[in-house]
Amino acid sequence: MSTKDTHIPEWLTVPFAGITPAPSQEKGQDLFPTGNWRSIRPVYRDKLPPCNNACGTNEKIQGYLDLVKRGKYLDAYALIKEDMPFPSVTGRVCYHPCEQACNRGKYDEAISIRAVERFLGDLGQALTNDVVKPGKPNGKKVAVVGSGPAGHSAAYQLARLGYKVTILEKSPKAGGLNRGGIPDWVLPQNILDREIERLEQLGVEIKTGVEVGKDVSWDDLKKNYDACVLAVGLIEPNSVKAEGEDKKGVHYGLPFLRDIGMGTSKVKLGARVAVIGGGNTAIDCAREALRQGAAEVTMITVEGNKNEMPASPEDLHDMLEEGVELMHGRAVTAVLGNGKVEALQLHKARFQGAINASPITVDREAPSERFAADNVIIAIGQRASLNWLPAEFKNERGTIKMDKFGRLGDTNFFAAGDIAQVGSGQPLMVVNAVGDGKRVAFNLDKVMRGEKLQPRTIPVDVIFDLNRMNMTYFPHFPRVQQEMLPTKTRTKTQDEVIQAFTEEQAVEEANRCFSCGTCNACDNCYLVCPEPCIARPERSNGMYKILVDYCKGCRVCIEECPTGCLEGVPELDFDTGVVRMDTAFAISPGLHGRQAQELKNLGDRPAKNI
């Protein structure tokens, strides 16, 4: 057969090798029946899964789900522990931004990542010795102020790096917001105690009852330690600025929960309780009020309806199930009563601009409403309390002035957690504080080693588009639901409401993971290659190798890769795509970067299973 007299379409007029499509592609057999082969070559290029990207501390979620799938629970636990010091805590309390980002949510239902994390966290709690070991001591001393999520995370990472860490905690018990801001029926105290014990096993010293500004001064910190992480959190509750707010029976959200958590609460609630605020703390307060003996709990919010409330939809659902009433579009203008709360004066109100981020307009002209209540719990956020901080490090918003690495000027002081994140647009939640603590610990380590702090420049390819994966490989499958205590009885006790996954449930749920953009050792490429050009020493993530000198570029492996991890890079030019075969892998650090490292050393050492 000759191409003489063949009509040559315009897109083929320059017969330069590489521009004509492969036979498996559209129009690939129009001009040349055997088509143009090997204009691309396949490479394994791991993308960042959206869950990993959305997680405040960038847990390698795909990595541990994959290990759970294979029954390697201990490896999975060790993998979580790289980024997260207390998976048993976040497995209970996290508002799981990962599940909101999960690609499976666009397909059927998101993976229940938090429940699997809790399963692994509980497994870690049951171990006699933790898998994490302290780093080789480097002789440097670091003080961490505050033992909440950010302080705990920073202390944990610093101990792993070999620092001698001392935590200074104001309260009689360590745990910060984890203890004081989260009720027992979400996070039992013994779970947190065990995690703090683990932290002490790493050599971290925790001094409770030490308040910076009172027991320890700024200069003491400067003199006695090589560096310091300020993870003091936001501890002063915001006021509603209503008349009579100082009456007996008015409580503030976080101190209310904190006193119960610390066991120092003397609060006796009446039958009718009003909770002011529409966030997650307000929800916890309302549910706690039921458990403290209140008969009727009403939540009063400025938001116009429940969808606008800045709260986790699941918690909101559970709260309504427990019988808490909602009252929207109102603000408290006065607390009425004779020395003690008897009622609230409410006015219609709305946010001036964006919901939850702008001042409130209260319509004082309209007739007021009277709302009878025995107690009021005000939970409308917290602010910083930084009287001890030198003025040069305070900013106009009343928080700490620092650079984008969390460093205060050119000192060895760093700030982490809510105190650093408030006002940044970042939602204030445990996992974000943990992530901030981790990053600050690494930045501090760099400063101590005299390295330059630089923003991360590696481009990260997050795989959001389901079309980049081969969805034909994934059947629809419903999410495994966590069991819950019955609504009627759970408000009478402090027992955990949400129940843990069994092993079978955890494996079943982990099996639903798409493994977006990363190799999960499905063996598909190995099986479909017609040559065969794909080799592997064993069936293991990232251990597949393409014999590129035999590959003829048919693209079958790329088309058939379920996770979108394989892609084609231009073969016949120097300007685009990959340069050298062995540099094609490491685009993101973490699990996938490590896979790339292992691939590079494939010949030198025995393959590992991660």
């Binding site: 000759s2 330069f16 590489g18 055997t34 082969w37 000198d549 035999y550 003829k552 570029g553």
Partner: protein, 215 residues
């Protein structure tokens, strides 16, 4: 006693004949000089697939070839890349003993290309020659009709010109022979069809001396 292995990497169909011309002409010249020589293609490659990497082998020895039934060159002393982008593709340097030679058809200089070469410490010299330009290799860009004959999986059966090295093979042969002395210039020169390109290439080689091995 000298024994030399030459491996030519080329691309299926579009440059398959060029690779074959190199190994055939060099082994034929070696035999004329009274040496033992053989040339063959790698049968597991895909020469009938456009652009696929394919290998051509040649062995030249003063003695009888003991490994003449071994199919692949395990320790090539000389590697030729007939198409420049192959340099970044895979480990074509594997098995090369120290003191090897790498010849690349490219318009880039050796300074630029060395960064892509895996295991460049084994090289005694890196040679770049812009063979496509020297051989006035126009068909690559616009002579589609004639190229078409060569792009229909004919594996050379319908080639327009049956002479040896009418095109880019000529400058590449010049580069190999001049830099390694595997055969004598005067034995190979009469075989080459494109004598002009062969002679021009002798003066237009970009040679980068690297790590010579003491004999």
């Amino acid at each position: 006693m000298s024994y030399t292995e030459l491996t030519v990497w080329t691309r299926g169909i579009i440059m398959d004949k060029e690779g074959r011309d190199i190994v055939n002409s060099i082994s034929a010249s070696a035999r004329i000089e009274g040496k033992y020589a053989q040339a063959m293609e790698n049968y597991v490659d895909n020469p009938d697939r456009t652009n696929c990497p394919t290998r051509k082998y040649c062995r030249v020895s003063d003695n009888v070839l003991e490994n003449e039934l071994t199919y692949e060159n395990e320790h090539p002393n000389i590697v030729v890349l007939v198409e420049g982008t192959m340099v970044k593709g895979w480990d074509y340097m594997r098995g090369m003993p120290p003191g090897g030679t790498l010849v690349i058809n490219t318009h880039y200089t050796p300074d630029y290309m060395i960064r892509f070469v895996p295991g460049a410490e084994r090289l005694a010299q890196l040679v770049c020659v812009d063979a496509a330009k020297i051989a006035d290799h126009k068909w690559l860009y616009y002579r589609l009709g004639e190229l078409g004959l060569d792009r229909l999986s004919t594996e050379g059966a319908a080639e327009r010109n049956k002479s040896i090295a009418p095109d880019i093979a000529a400058p590449l042969i010049a580069a190999v022979v001049k830099t390694t002395g595997i055969v004598k210039m005067k034995t190979i020169e009469p075989m080459i069809a494109n004598k002009h390109a062969f002679e021009v290439a002798l003066n237009e080689l970009h040679i980068m001396p690297l790590n010579p091995v003491a004999v």
